[in-house]
């Protein structure tokens, strides 16, 4: 079985093609929009995606050495994400489905990150940290759904770090030689400045930390602010993670999403896991950020269980939570 998957929830337009046997992933092409300054405007995102879409689709087919006729299903990330960006992916998917008479598989973007994590790390029964620019979620699979143990109550960890880096002039680019600029800056600091540490039960709140850090950046050495921000932000997440490990007794911790690439976070998590005799499994960099292969792969699993949507009902779902998605393929 061959599935073509389309990702367009945020800054990346990606297309991946997967099959249900080794090596599973036949191609994974993406084009990511990076604004020259400031944040991302939804309309600019949509324009970017619409401009690159056709090329990305044909490159993905070419690299997988398959024809669109060989593809069984079209999978598309219908949410969660930014409306105008989502719509581009949805339109491309609907067009392919209608023109080539393929069934359409609706995929939740977060489930895509999680499933590609299972596939690439070999995790069996993990506690899952889904960390990206838009999400900070601690979850695990239980009785048909991914249950959310804890999450951010406002902005995501990745968003906190990116916005801070940008506002104090460290970014763009956000990542230099595989390291986030906040880490490069923090490694030269070491004095802890008092910043708000907000854990509510198993949830975290990062928006106050962002405001306080931006204020602190005007008063203290920037390296120390970077260090303090990183320590407080990560330690909040680690504390909530540790509670979830204690609560669930899981022996694997799987990290998925764009923030999974962070070296300093990895070190902290490994220290934490050692104390609990657990193993840290991190999605490889190629599948950490948003990509089409993860949508195709989650679509392959869903399609095998008859999860399809008619084109006329294939609405985008900008606020589609992962715990709303039935997961029939994990009984």
């Amino acid at each position: 079985m061959l599935v073509l998957g389309i990702e367009s929830t945020a800054h990346t337009f990606g297309v991946g093609i997967v099959t249900d046997e080794r090596p599973y992933i036949l191609s994974n092409i993406r084009d990511t929009y990076v604004p020259k300054s400031g944040g991302m405007k939804p309309t600019d995102l949509a324009r970017h995606h619409a401009t690159v879409a056709a090329d990305v689709v044909s490159q993905a087919l070419k690299e997988a050495s398959v024809s669109i006729k060989d593809v069984d299903h079209i999978a598309v990330a219908l949410g969660p994400g930014i409306g105008p960006a989502l719509r581009v992916g949805a339109v491309v998917a609907r067009t392919l489905a209608l023109k080539f008479d393929k069934k359409l598989v609706p995929v939740n973007h977060g489930i895509g990150h999680i499933e590609i994590g299972y596939l690439t790390t070999g995790a069996k029964d993990p506690l899952i940290l889904y960390l990206s620019g838009g999400n900070t979620i601690i979850t695990t699979f239980y009785e048909g759904r991914f249950r959310v143990f804890g999450e951010t109550l406002d902005i995501a960890l990745g968003n906190l770090i990116d916005v801070f880096s940008r506002e104090v002039g460290l970014a763009p680019p956000y990542v230099v030689n595989g390291k986030h600029v906040i880490d490069i800056c923090a490694d030269q600091g070491g004095k802890l400045i008092d910043l708000p540490y907000v854990v509510k039960g198993q949830d975290m709140s990062y928006s106050g930390l962002l405001t306080a850090s931006l204020k602190a950046a005007r008063k203290y050495d920037l390296h120390d602010v970077c260090y303090s921000l990183r320590e407080v932000a990560f330690d909040m997440l680690l504390e909530a993670t540790e509670r979830a490990i204690a609560l669930t007794g899981k022996r694997e911790v799987m990290i998925v999403g764009g923030v999974a690439a962070s070296v300093s976070l990895r070190k902290k998590l490994e220290d934490l896991a050692r104390e609990w005799d657990a193993e840290v499994k991190i999605v490889p960099p190629a599948f950490a950020g948003d990509n089409g292969a993860m949508i195709a792969y989650a679509g392959l699993l869903a399609g095998k269980h008859g999860v399809f949507v008619d084109v006329e009902n294939s609405h985008i779902r900008p606020r589609w939570r992962i715990d709303e998605v039935p997961i029939p393929w994990r009984a």
């Binding site: 838009g134 999450e151 198993q202 609560l247 902290k268 104390e275 606020r319 709303e324």
Partner: protein, 221 residues
């Protein structure tokens, strides 16, 4: 800490059972985290040890069941407190020891206790089924006040209710409805303006990311 028996390793502390001046006691020692900056680690552990001891005192004064504090060793982040015989509510629910009526009654008990705490101006900070002990005689004890605070802010009370609801949803999805219905009926007896608290709970949940209800217009379709 000789002569003590390790009984539980929690996320932030280690619990030992033993005797303190002849009294059956538990020794709760907060542990340092190797992943945490040492200064931040000390601040967090010291502050929470102190808050917990102080809060337990206020909780007992308000007539709510909690283990009495026998001794505090701040330098070692340790509190010695009375041993409470029983099992945490989570284990009771997991053991399917209750039918729907039993779950509703249990929820009601939890509602009364949470309401009494809030009435006394105390937010627990981590009100989950792991932090409630049910004794065989049916008395409900509240434990683990490390994240608690003195407050009269509806937001803090609503956060308690939200955390409880979240713990029911993620750990006991099948038991959530009767438990929470019971909770509301117990809570509303203690807190006359409980509707304001429940509205704030909804507000807090709406602030979460990707909450479908938050979208009031259907323009995204």
């Amino acid at each position: 800490m000789e002569g003590l028996r390790l009984i539980k390793r929690g996320a932030e502390s280690v619990i030992y059972e033993g005797y303190f001046l002849g009294i059956h006691a538990i020794f709760k020692k907060r542990v340092s985290k190797s992943y945490r900056d040492p200064k931040l680690d000390k601040e967090i552990n010291e502050q929470r040890t102190m808050y917990e001891a102080r809060t337990i005192y206020s909780v007992l004064k308000a007539g709510i069941n909690a283990p009495a504090v026998l001794f505090v060793d701040l330098a070692n982040f340790t509190i010695v407190m009375e041993f409470v015989e029983g099992a945490v509510v989570r284990e009771y629910i997991d053991g399917r020891k209750f039918d729907e009526k039993g779950l509703r009654e249990l929820g009601e008990k939890i509602g009364h206790v949470a309401g009494k705490l809030h009435k006394a101006g105390i937010a627990h900070g981590d009100l989950t089924t792991n932090n409630l002990i049910l004794k065989d005689n049916g008395e409900l004890f509240v434990i683990d006040f490390g994240l608690s605070k003195r407050t009269n802010d509806v937001e803090d009370f609503a956060t308690d209710v939200h955390v409880l609801l979240r713990s029911l949803e993620s750990v006991h999805p099948e038991a959530k409805d009767p438990l929470f219905e019971g909770f509301i009926s117990g809570y509303s007896i203690e807190i006359p303006n409980y509707k304001e608290v429940i509205d704030t709970v909804r507000e807090i949940r709406m602030r979460g990311r990707y909450v479908e209800e938050r979208r009031s217009k259907a323009s995204d379709k």
